[in-house]
C-alpha cells in the first residue's frame, strides 16, 4: 500500500492507495500514527483502496482511538463498495464517520 499526505490549511488529507490488509497493516499504522499530534484533523481518502480486511480495520480503530485521546478528529471519504460492505458487516459504519466526497469530508472538520 502507498500512502500520500497532502496538507490543506490545518487539515491533513491521507490518501490510502492499494490494499489495506494483513501484510500492509503494520506499516500503514506506524506511518499514520506519525501524523497524529494534539488536535490533528485528518481526512482519509479511501477512494483508491479497494480491499480491506480485519487487519486494516484494526488500524483504523487504533487511529480513531489515538485521535480521540489527543483531542483530534478523523473522517473517512470516498469508500468503494467492497470496503463499505466490510464496514457494514463489522458495524464500523456506525462507529466511524464517512463521506462520499473528499470535499464534503474536508468541510465537515
Amino acid at each position: 500500500m502507498k500512502i500520500e499526505v497532502e496538507k490543506k490549511d490545518n487539515i491533513k488529507i491521507i490518501r490510502l492507495i492499494g490494499d489495506l490488509d494483513g501484510t500492509s497493516a503494520p506499516e500503514v499504522r506506524e506511518e499514520i500514527i506519525s501524523h497524529i499530534n494534539d488536535n490533528s484533523k485528518l481526512v482519509f481518502d479511501m477512494s483508491q483502496c479497494e480491499y480491506i480486511s480485519s487487519a486494516g480495520l484494526r488500524v483504523l480503530l487504533i487511529i480513531a482511538k489515538k485521535l480521540k485521546a489527543k483531542g483530534g478528529q478523523g473522517v473517512l471519504a470516498g469508500l468503494v463498495e467492497e470496503v463499505k460492505d466490510v464496514m457494514e458487516i463489522t458495524g464500523f459504519d456506525h462507529m466511524l464517520t464517512s463521506y462520499e466526497s473528499i470535499d464534503t469530508a474536508i468541510n465537515s472538520l
Partner: protein, 137 residues
C-alpha cells in the same frame, strides 16, 4: 485437487492468498467481487492460524481448494496441527460498541462467517480442519 503447504507465517500470507485467488481465477467463472470476498475469507482464517495456532514454534498450514464449475462454487480446506480452535462456535464481538469501548480482536472471524456460504470445523487426528464453501457468481 490443488494444494499448498507452507509455514504459517505472515511473510507467507500473500503467497497463500495468491495460490487460492489466482487458482480460482484461472477457471474464469468468478466475478471480481466474489474473488475479493474469497481472498478476504482466506486472509481472515489464515491470519488467525498465523497469529494463534502455534504459540510455541512455527507450524505449517495446508490449503486445498476445489472449484465446482457447474455449481459456480469453491470449496476450500484449511488444515493446521496447532491448538484446537473452532471458529464456527466463536462468539460474535460487540459490533455496536463505541470507539473507546471497541475491542481490537474478533473481527476477522466474524467477517469470514458473514461472507462464506458454509463453514464447517472438525478436529481430526490432532488437526484443525476448516472447510469453507463460497459461491463465486
Amino acid at each position: 485437487m490443488p494444494s499448498i503447504k507452507l509455514p504459517a507465517t505472515i511473510e507467507n500470507l500473500d503467497r497463500m492468498l495468491e495460490f487460492v485467488v489466482n487458482g480460482v481465477n484461472h477457471f474464469e467463472i468468478a466475478t471480481e467481487n466474489s474473488l475479493k470476498k474469497l481472498r478476504l475469507v482466506c486472509e481472515e482464517m489464515l491470519t488467525n492460524i498465523i497469529d494463534y495456532s502455534y504459540p510455541k514454534q512455527t507450524g505449517e498450514v495446508k490449503i486445498i481448494y476445489k472449484v465446482v464449475t457447474e455449481e459456480k462454487k469453491v470449496i476450500i480446506k484449511i488444515i493446521d496441527h496447532g491448538v484446537p480452535f473452532n471458529p464456527v462456535e466463536y462468539k460474535k464481538p460487540n459490533l455496536s460498541a463505541s470507539i473507546e469501548e471497541r475491542d481490537i480482536g474478533g473481527l476477522g472471524i466474524h467477517i469470514a462467517k458473514r461472507i462464506v456460504d458454509q463453514m464447517k470445523y472438525q478436529r481430526n487426528e490432532e488437526q484443525n480442519v476448516l472447510t469453507i464453501v463460497k459461491f463465486i457468481n
